[in-house]
């Protein structure tokens, strides 16, 4: 059980993120090819690609918490003495947590509304609620991850914040650096 939880913690969002991104690439490329080679188009390609993109971003927002990828202004946090820093960091994490819970709750609300009204997407006829549900998952997963990191900050002192600047492609470049 413990092992399954640990695997889920590590791989749950990545599987959805990478799959969604793959869907986006394949659909858009296929649509271009279809237009070129067969003078036809896939009418729902754009809509499904946007759908997948929304899921990619919102699962990415939650996983970015784990990977410390979120962009923060750290001027003040870096400048204050470490005893104070811990409390500021706890405050920031608590705000993020409260925000995620709010997003989750609001997400449930708009999803329920859309399903009640029977709204659907134009090309695929998928219920619009499924699209809105992305922020429910995102809010809930973020809240879980943030509860954990808030606990770590309060219990074990500070957790290093990631610099907000080395943002673009840093991970990639670090890996690719040797070659």
């Amino acid at each position: 059980m413990q092992r399954w939880l640990r695997l889920a913690e590590r791989y749950f969002e990545p599987i959805i993120i990478v799959t969604s991104l793959g869907v986006v690439i394949v659909l858009l490329f296929a649509d271009v090819v279809a237009r070129f080679a067969f003078q036809t188009s896939v009418p729902w390609a754009g809509e499904v690609a946007r759908f997948a993109f929304v899921y990619m971003i919102y699962f990415g927002i939650s996983y970015a918490i784990r990977e410390k990828r979120h962009l923060r202004v750290t001027i003040l946090v870096d400048a204050v003495p470490s005893a104070l820093r811990r409390w500021i960091m706890a405050f920031a994490e608590a705000v993020f947590l409260a925000y995620s819970v709010a997003v989750c709750v609001l997400g449930v609300q708009i999803t329920a509304n859309a399903i009640e009204r029977g709204q659907s997407l134009s090309a695929t006829q998928w219920p619009t609620g499924w699209l809105y549900a992305a922020i429910i998952f995102s809010g809930a997963l973020s809240a879980l991850r943030l509860s954990h990191s808030l606990w770590m900050i309060l219990r074990h002192g500070q957790e290093p914040l990631r610099e907000n600047t080395a943002l673009e492609d840093e991970g990639i470049q670090r890996e690719g650096a040797g070659s």
Binding site: I17, V32, I57, G60, L71, I75, A134, D169, Q173
Partner: protein, 430 residues
């Protein structure tokens, strides 16, 4: 009152280290509580509708294509081309470096990817040629700004979405200003190398060697043609072209250069997606933010206030440039664009400045922020890939920032530089 709550809480949360997009979202939610006819569900709907955008998909795809292309041999091959053509030009290896950044910018959508890819190879090479290492690092960091100027550019897509202008037109508008910056950097380097006596002229390559270098790099050089040719040939939209770019990059690096294995693909996709999620989180929040400031008539009040002081567009534009340069030093670029565009654009267009031209101005000004301490993304990247102490880079960067600011002034007050290509190719504005 609502305005004070919105901006006050945003500033407090930002300083406390709340992620930028979350700070904007939380501040917007607080403000909505004080606006009677705007419900919280409006905020939630904005989170989805802001991201549910066909144009924005290009952000992640261009990022991914750049990551795939920059693994391994592409940068080396592009540098070889730059060296074959510019190795014996004035400024020597410095000119080569800046030209290589210019080439690489046409493949990559971001600035620090350009710094990383070119800096990794060129900073040591420049140091071997007698350049001061920190000077070389500062040069590459500055030339990284070309990454956001030359299409494809992720920053430009975000501006286009926020300002509701055409991505294709903005892409074209960035090319000449990008070249202007490159020329400014090259000229400054020539002056410095003469002064420092570092300029060891290389040997002129023969046309045969040049052809060989181009031939080696042809698949990398072809990529901008495929991407931009597709867009401007009217064959594909910018988003579709980004998907084509990804497939092209994958094919080239897997089957031709054999520098990417399929097993690495998952992690690369995840990294690109996370990078993009972390910056696009603010787009969802910005939908409600934009509505709130419009309801509060903030752009209107601001432009009435400023235009009450002066309606001289030169003075106003100068003031905006100062503002952008300051904000660019501490706020992440995409966030700055998303927040400032809806506030400033109405005033600017009232003064008769073209929204596309203003986009170029804003992007150049904020790109200078990339290399300005304390928070210059490109500086950090140059420090990392060049193994240069950050403080040494900071000492060297100041003059480069001045040079880029001079280029910014030229670009700002000469609109035709930005607008001529969109006019020529897209009939923009006519």
């Amino acid at each position: 009152m609502t305005t004070a709550i919105l901006f006050g809480s945003f500033a407090v949360l930002l300083l406390a280290g709340v992620p930028i997009g979350i700070a904007l979202g939380a501040a917007s939610l607080l403000a909505i509580a004080y606006i009677p006819f705007l419900g919280f569900d409006f905020y939630a709907l904005g989170l989805v509708s802001g991201i549910n955008s066909f144009t924005l998909i290009a952000v992640v795809l261009f990022t991914l294509a750049g990551s795939v292309m920059s693994r391994g041999g592409i940068s080396r091959r592009l540098i070889a081309v730059a060296e074959a053509f510019f190795g014996n030009a004035p400024g020597g290896l410095g000119t080569v470096t800046i030209m290589a950044c210019l080439f690489f910018a046409a493949i990559s959508g971001t600035g620090s990817a350009t710094v990383a890819a070119i800096g990794l190879a060129m900073i040591p090479a420049l140091a071997r040629r007698g350049y001061d290492r920190a000077y070389a690092g500062a040069m590459v960091a500055s030339a990284g700004a070309l990454g956001v100027m030359i299409p494809p550019s992720v920053v430009m897509i975000i501006y286009a979405v926020t300002a509701q202008v055409s991505v294709s037109a903005l892409f074209l508008a960035g090319i000449i200003p990008g070249i202007v910056i490159a020329i400014a950097l090259i000229l400054y380097n020539i002056y410095q190398t003469r002064k420092g006596g570092w300029e060891a002229k290389g040997v002129a390559a023969t046309w045969r060697q040049r052809w060989e270098a181009v031939n080696q790099a042809k698949l990398a050089l072809l990529m901008p043609l495929v991407v931009l040719g597709g867009i401007y040939g009217g064959i594909v939209t910018p988003t579709e072209s980004s998907a084509v770019a990804v497939v092209y990059a994958l094919l080239v690096s897997t089957f031709v250069y054999k520098e990417l294995s399929w097993r690495e693909l998952g992690p690369i996709m995840l990294q690109s997606a996370l990078l993009v999620s972390a910056v696009l989180v603010i787009i969802g929040a910005s939908v409600a933010f934009g509505r709130i400031i419009a309801l509060e008539r903030i752009p209107l009040e601001l432009s009435r206030f400023v235009l009450g002081i002066t309606d001289n567009w030169i003075v106003v534009l100068l003031a905006i440039l100062v503002l952008l340069l300051i904000i660019g030093t501490f706020l992440e670029t995409l966030a700055a664009i998303v927040i400032l565009t809806p506030v400033l654009l109405p005033m600017v267009t009232q003064l008769g400045i073209d929204p596309i031209h203003f986009g170029v101005i804003m992007i150049v000004a904020l790109a200078i922020g990339f290399v300005t301490p304390p928070l210059g993304a490109n500086l950090f990247m140059a420090s990392q890939v060049g193994g240069i102490p950050f403080d040494d880079l900071v000492k060297r960067i100041f003059k480069w920032v001045l040079v880029m600011t001079a280029a910014l002034l030229v670009i700002s007050f000469w609109p035709d530089l930005s607008l001529i290509l969109p006019r020529l190719f897209l009939g923009y504005g006519s």
